[in-house]
């Protein structure tokens, strides 16, 4: 098998080898230009010699234009492969001559050359309708968004809203008839799982089923969209697309993402529940620190960017940012332009670095939150423009060690979209943004903490005094231990008091500066003094501790401890001397911090880089980019969002390549529907709940997923591209786990907050989106069911592997749930009611677990199984009803949204 025809041959023998090939290859007549030649040239040549570019004035996208040639003359002579320039250049041994050039692509294989040669020898036949590539800017997704008129269709009775008219139109063109509506049980389960990610409760089921089948349907939709659990359900979808990840690294060292990233997750949940428009969500994620610099609640949104932090190297960090802003928000594979001009879309290599330039200045920090003084315990990860003047360079062939320093790359967006370039204006930040210690909670939190320490120290000292209040110990050693302990407690009070004084004085001095009050210099000196006194008091406490240790030490250890006491005494003396001594005129105190820059290690992997201060201005670059992305004239943003929304409601997207709307991506299955949805999204004020409502109330969404009795449809459209039925969907991992907990009555509904750490997950009853989830720490049950990989997950996999069956049979989660569900279903329906008999138990179990009414044969099968379990020798069948529940949890339709 020859992979690479040049392998093993010295370069200069290549032409000779080709000569042999050309002579010896058996010529077969009838190479198909459309099937064999044009796709080959498209893959290998069109990027430079097609609609995108016409290097050397040569186009190879029609047979005619190949013959016509370019600067070097005709590229092909019909019937004469030997003298055809195209072939000569393709097989050339001279690296400067060979096409495609070394850095643009591999050489043609022997088989490919032979095809081309035969085609030319045949006279380069091509059909009359051989058409040139269209202008890349004419790609459907790059054209301005125009709201399409809602079509008039024959099957008007089926149409519930405009969505259905677009779907019906295509069905009618294809001669397809939509299946009937799904039964109420199925619709109800769909509504709940789709909108809140949890199944309906059995108690409410009968009433809900009545409503679904009558005119109560919109009311249920309205209620579920207003349910706070809706935000939790849809946040998880957007967390996939926006690459939510908790931090990870090696051991304790943070290398990727940020600590406390959950603040961004909570912002997503809250924003969705509050109905924050999609465009506003994007703006806040990209630039809340510039748009709302004083509003830390909104600034949480920039976790979207902080998540890309990488400790050791700026380039992967920036590359992830550019790649996923491109793919996730715009449906553009900008990442393809890192090394060279894009091969399919009109995105020159420089555009990649221009987009990077918007992000070049940003850095990450943790802002203090109320009540917490230690950023390791809590803080809000967010971005700020810390390096406004950092230049962006283009990397030659994408190689980071080859920056082209001849020109700084300015921030700019791809020009082909023909929307005005972003208007970049610097943002003057309010003081509390660049002096976060001025946030109103920072100083009170520090004071309260110091106060608390003081109170605790006083209480501890009182306790110590009380303990020592009896008769003094007769044993001098014991007396010495007691005395030392008491002294330590006293010194702790002194230290805590001095520390409180230090915080108070430093706060005073800082306020004096902010308020430009008089007496500032005095307050500064007082703060310096107080801080030095606190340092001395701390040293005094350390000394007391050392002395207490000495008192307790065994006699053979005493000399060693004595050394420590001597050192502590020296430190204390020095601190006291400093505290009492003269003060330099420019002496400064340590300001109370309101935020901590997350250090990078770009320069030296074993030490933090020099710290980056918080500037008074932000470049305004990201604000401008956010405005451009969310500009209603941007043809991509709304289309990409509408496609994501649709995909998650219907189980399949309208554009299969959800992250690539460019020329290498898929075409939309329903182009007009997509444009209508995108227009509707914009005109509703980017209201996602409006789109959710439209979609789940459409006849299309309500279709049955059954293919029964639809042989004619299946013959015409076996893959259901035209949506004549619903696609059944495997439940996402989180919906599956959350449903198990909800059905068993044990789900802990607590919203938000820090993630559940891996060690606590097995016992936790919280919703799955609250589990700690990073590149390195992922929950086994959830990953077994294809939970999102944090690096990229624009679509969930819906794998079917035997490990899932094992998890649904053997995991504690499922077994616990089965027991609780069986017990719940065995309860009487109400006070005074009889406990359900087997048929009632079966009926309820089917409704609750599978969202379906058990048929007679299903009920009979279950009854037979119950009997069979009960007939087993004592103790080996277990609780028959429990076995039934366990079996139903392994039913295909438990893990499937019908």
């Amino acid at each position: 098998m020859i992979y690479n025809p040049f392998h093993g041959l010295p370069p200069r023998s290549i032409v000779a080898a080709w000569g042999w090939l050309l002579l010896s290859a058996p010529l077969q007549a009838g190479v198909d230009y459309v099937k064999e030649i044009k796709p080959l040239l498209k893959e290998r040549c069109f990027a430079c010699h097609g609609a995108l570019k016409q290097k050397a004035d040569l186009r190879l996208d029609t047979a005619e234009s190949i013959i016509q040639g370019g600067k070097s003359g005709p590229a092909l002579k019909r019937g004469d492969a030997g003298t055809s320039l195209i072939l000569q250049r393709i097989v050339s041994a001279d690296p400067d001559e060979r096409m495609p050039p070394a850095h643009e692509g591999e050489p043609f294989t022997a088989a490919q050359v032979r095809l081309l040669q035969e085609w030319i020898a045949d006279g380069a036949p091509a059909p009359a309708d051989d058409r040139a590539e269209t202008d890349p800017r004419d790609q459907w997704a790059f054209r301005p968004l125009v709201r399409p008129a809602v079509p008039v269709v024959a099957n008007a009775a089926w149409v519930r809203n405009p969505i259905d008219a677009f779907v019906a139109k295509q069905q009618e063109l294809q001669g397809l008839t939509p299946q009937s509506e799904a039964p109420p049980e199925v619709l109800l389960r769909r509504l709940y799982l789709d909108l809140i990610g949890l199944p309906p409760d059995l108690a409410a089921m009968d009433g809900l089923l009545r409503e679904v089948s009558t005119d109560g349907y919109p009311g249920i939709v309205q209620q579920l969209l207003g349910d706070p659990r809706h935000g939790e359900r849809w946040a998880r979808h957007w967390m996939d697309i926006w690459r939510y990840s908790d931090w990870w690294g090696l051991g304790d060292q943070l290398r990727n993402s940020q600590k406390h990233m959950w603040h961004w997750r909570d912002w997503i949940v809250e924003s969705l529940n509050a109905g924050l428009p999609y465009d506003e969500m994007l703006r806040q994620m990209l630039a809340a620190d510039e748009l709302y610099p004083g509003d830390l609640k909104k600034v949480r949104a920039t976790g979207f960017l902080a998540r890309n932090f990488f400790l050791f190297n700026r380039n992967p960090w920036m590359e992830e940012t550019v790649e996923h802003v491109g793919k996730g928000l715009l449906g553009l594979t900008m990442n393809c332009s890192k090394c060279h001009d894009h091969k399919y879309d009109p995105i020159p290599q420089n555009d990649y670095y221009r987009l990077r330039a918007f992000f070049e200045p940003y850095q990450v920090r943790l802002d203090a939150v109320e009540g917490v003084t230690d950023p390791n315990i809590d803080g809000i990860p967010r971005v700020f423009d810390g390096q406004p003047d950092l230049p962006t360079w283009r990397f030659i062939r994408g190689e980071e060690n080859r920056p082209d320093k001849s020109a700084v790359i300015p921030p700019a967006v791809p020009a082909f979209l023909a929307i005005p370039q972003p208007d970049i204006r610097p943002v003057t930040l309010p003081p509390e943004a660049w002096q976060p210690e001025r946030q109103p909670w920072v100083i009170p939190t520090q004071l309260a903490s110091a106060q608390r320490n003081m109170t605790e120290a006083v209480e501890a000292a009182a306790l110590a005094v009380q303990k020592n209040s009896g008769t003094p110990a007769a044993d001098p050693a014991a007396a010495s231990v007691a005395g030392a302990g008491l002294n330590t407690a006293r010194q702790r009070v002194a230290w805590a008091t001095a520390e409180w004084e230090s915080v108070r004085c430093r706060a005073d001095a800082m306020r004096a500066v902010w308020e430009q009050a008089t007496g500032g210099p005095d307050k500064r000196r007082a703060a310096v003094r107080a801080e030095r006194l606190a340092a001395a008091a701390k040293a005094g406490h350390s000394l007391a501790e050392a002395e207490a240790q000495l008192a307790r030490a065994a006699s053979d250890k005493k000399p060693e401890v004595e050394k420590a006491v001597t050192t502590a005494r020296e430190v204390f003396a020095a601190a006291e001397k400093t505290a009492a001594g003269p003060m330099e005129p420019d002496a400064a105190f340590t300001p109370i911090p309101g935020a901590r820059w997350t250090p990078t290690r770009f320069l030296n992997s074993s030490a933090d880089d020099p710290s980056i201060p918080f500037p008074e201005k932000s470049t305004g670059r990201r604000r401008a980019l956010a405005a451009w992305i969310t500009d209603a004239r941007n043809p991509l943003t709304a289309r990409v969002a509408a496609n994501h929304l649709w995909a998650r409601h219907l189980g399949t997207p309208l554009v299969a390549t959800v992250f690539d709307f460019g020329r290498n991506g898929a075409l939309p299955s329903h182009p007009e529907l997509l444009d209508w949805l995108a227009s509707e999204l914009i005109s509703s004020g980017w209201n996602m709940k409006h789109l959710h409502r439209l979609i789940v109330t459409s006849a299309t969404w309500r279709l049955s997923s059954s293919a029964a009795g639809a042989a004619a449809n299946a013959a015409k459209d076996p893959d259901n591209i035209h949506l004549w039925r619903r696609h059944p969907v495997r439940l996402e991992a989180e919906v599956l786990r959350d449903s198990l907990l909800a059905l068993s009555g044990g789900l802990d509904p607590a919203p938000g907050g820090p993630p559940v750490p891996p060690a606590e997950q097995n016992a936790s009853k919280r919703r799955s989106l609250y589990f700690f989830n990073s590149n390195n720490e992922r929950n086994l049950f959830l990953t077994t069911f294809d939970a999102a990989a944090v690096k990229e997950c624009y679509r969930r996999d819906q794998s079917i592997v035997p490990q899932q069956a094992l998890a649904l049979t053997n995991s504690d989660l499922v077994q616990d749930a089965a027991e609780k569900i069986a017990a719940r279903l065995a309860q009487p329906a109400g006070p005074g009611a009889a406990a359900p008999d087997d048929p009632a138990f079966i009926r309820h179990a089917f409704l609750l677990l599978l969202g379906m009414s058990a048929s007679d044969s299903e009920t009979a099968a279950c009854a037979r199984a119950l009997e069979a379990w009960r007939a087993l020798p004592s103790g080996t069948g277990g609780d028959a009803r429990l076995q039934l529940i366990r079996s139903l949890l392994n039913h295909n339709d438990f893990v499937t949204l019908r």
Binding site: M1, Y3, N4, E106, L250, R255, L311, F312, N313, P316, S605, S606, A656, T657, V658, D660, N664, A666, L667, S705, S706, A707, A708, P718, D719, P728, R730, N776, T784, D786, A789, K791, S799, I800, V801, P802, Q803, A805, L806, A807, T809, N810, Q815, S855, A861, C862, A865, W869, T876, G877, G878, Q883, L884, R886, S887, L888, H891, N892, T896, R898
Partner: protein
């Protein structure tokens, strides 16, 4: 148009309902594949007649010193204590020759180590071929006439990102990519429908924990523990059922799914799920059997060193590997040496570190080769011994060696690989691969070649693979 990669009707007949078929099921909704006319998923058949059926992939985490294993360099001892600049080999440090380095995570290691450090063990010629192997690997050395040693490997990440790089072929600066085992799993059908076809044993370090990546989680290795009582995640219930009760349950699930299938006919996902349940059931029984050594003779167990404390764990993994290969498992990936970035990472105390680790792996590997060979399995089983990089010719601190990407060794045996061959060479101090240099994907290409797979025919639309990803088979070592 939005064409599904394969129609749902052909899906059922295409998939044998074994593991590979189920993995295809994973792609039911993988629409990113959909846009390419003419693209088909792999059939599970080799692309050309294979020489090997299975691969046992032995990977030493942390970086084995090539000089003290399979590429002895007496010049190190001769020039010990001299800086490289003082020796006739000064040109090794020519910056141009060092330029291939690309680090994901720079650390205080990975620096130039200038003072040559003498060999920490002796070496001897072995076999008819007279290939020199260090004295730390006497059991493996007995099999040199079955092995091809490639002494001219290089990689580019001089930190442990190279672990991922050796499995995926890509520097981690480029992102994360499917591993070789995932590609094999993706490309080849099943030889045993009761067992997973891609199994992982041993300790996987921080650098790479998954295999399938963009091929999807269905192509991740299934991690196994060498514990017949509980080999598999979720493989065992805390509240087990009697077989009779389980059978009632299985029958009921089958019947109910069947009844549902009347209302929802032509649903390949349902068919695949039913098959996956039955497969899981069979697997629960097949796996403990595969890992049960009770019918192995004492002689065989001793061959793998199961009676010796240092060898016991690794020996049990290798004996399991042989038993899995016998049962048709395609790719068994065994990582040796946990802790830190990998146990072999001998920044200090190289002698103590490598001699004790070699003691743990040498006899089991020698035993594996002997056992496979006498059972006639070696002909169709390719055994690979690899590590992420070598170690520096110069010393780190008093008695260690640092990471070294410019030259290191890998060997293969069986599965149509020539025996008694040394291919490629490093320079006289083991610094640079200078003869027949090979990047890690050449090892991948060689393995795929022996399995009958053409990696270019495994490409999937929307995922551009580069020339370097495919590598080139090392023809000189293929029999």
């Amino acid at each position: 148009m939005n064409r599904s990669p394969f129609t749902r009707r052909t899906f059922l007949s295409d998939m044998g309902m074994g593991f590979t078929g189920l993995a295809l099921g994973a792609m039911l909704q993988r629409d990113s594949l959909a846009s390419s006319p003419g693209w088909h998923p792999p059939t599970g058949m080799p692309h050309f007649p294979p020489k090997a059926k299975s691969v046992i992939w032995l990977f030493m985490n942390g970086g084995v010193s090539h000089m003290e294993s399979f590429d002895p360099k007496p010049m190190l001892t001769q020039y010990a204590g001299k800086t490289i600049a003082e020796t006739p080999f000064a040109s090794a440090q020519d910056p141009a020759k060092l330029a291939l380095e690309r680090l994901l995570v720079p650390d205080a290691n990975g620096n130039q180590r200038n003072l040559l450090y003498p060999l920490q063990t002796g070496f001897k010629k072995h076999g008819q071929s007279g290939i020199e192997v260090s004295d730390w690997f006497p059991h493996i050395a007995q099999h040199v006439d079955r092995m091809s040693i490639v002494r001219s490997m290089y990689t580019t990440d001089s930190n442990h990102g190279a672990q991922a790089q050796f499995h995926t072929g890509r520097n981690m600066l480029d992102g994360e990519f499917p591993t070789l085992g995932a590609w094999v799993h993706y490309g080849l059908g099943s030889l045993n429908d009761n067992l997973p076809q891609f199994i992982s044993l041993g300790t996987r370090e921080y650098w790479i924990k998954k295999d399938g990546l963009y091929l999807g989680p269905a192509h991740d290795a299934v991690p196994l523990r060498i514990d017949p009582a509980n080999p598999l995640d979720f493989g065992k219930s805390a509240r087990p059922l009697s077989t009779a009760a389980q059978n009632v349950s299985m029958d009921l699930i089958r019947e109910l799914n069947g009844l549902r299938g009347v209302e929802y006919p032509d649903d390949p996902a349902m068919a695949a799920r039913v098959a996956s349940y039955e497969l899981a059931y069979r697997m629960q029984h097949a796996l403990p059997d595969a890992l049960d050594f009770s019918r192995e003779t004492d002689e065989t167990k001793a061959l793998y060193g199961l009676d010796l404390a240092p060898c016991r764990d690794f020996g049990a993994q290798l004996l399991s590997a042989r038993r899995l290969v016998e049962r048709g498992v395609r790719f068994i990936q065994i990582q040796h040496g946990g802790g830190g970035a990998g146990a072999w990472d001998a920044h200090s105390g190289l002698k103590a570190n490598h001699s004790s680790l070699a003691l743990a792996v040498d006899q089991p590997i020698g035993g594996l080769l002997a056992d496979l060979s006498r059972r006639g399995l070696l002909e169709e089983t390719l055994v690979v011994f690899a590590t992420e990089f070598g170690r520096t010719p110069g010393s780190q601190g008093a008695d260690g060696r640092d990471h070294h990407i410019y030259g290191f060794s890998v060997w293969m045996a069986g599965g149509g690989i020539k025996g008694g061959v040394v291919h490629g060479a490093t320079d006289e101090i083991g610094f640079h691969a200078v003869e027949n240099r090979h990047y890690v994907t050449d090892i991948h290409a060689t393995i795929l070649q022996q399995l009958g797979l053409d990696s270019r025919r495994l490409e999937i639309p929307g995922r551009k693979r580069l020339e370097i990803d495919h590598g080139k088979p090392i023809r000189e070592i293929i029999a």
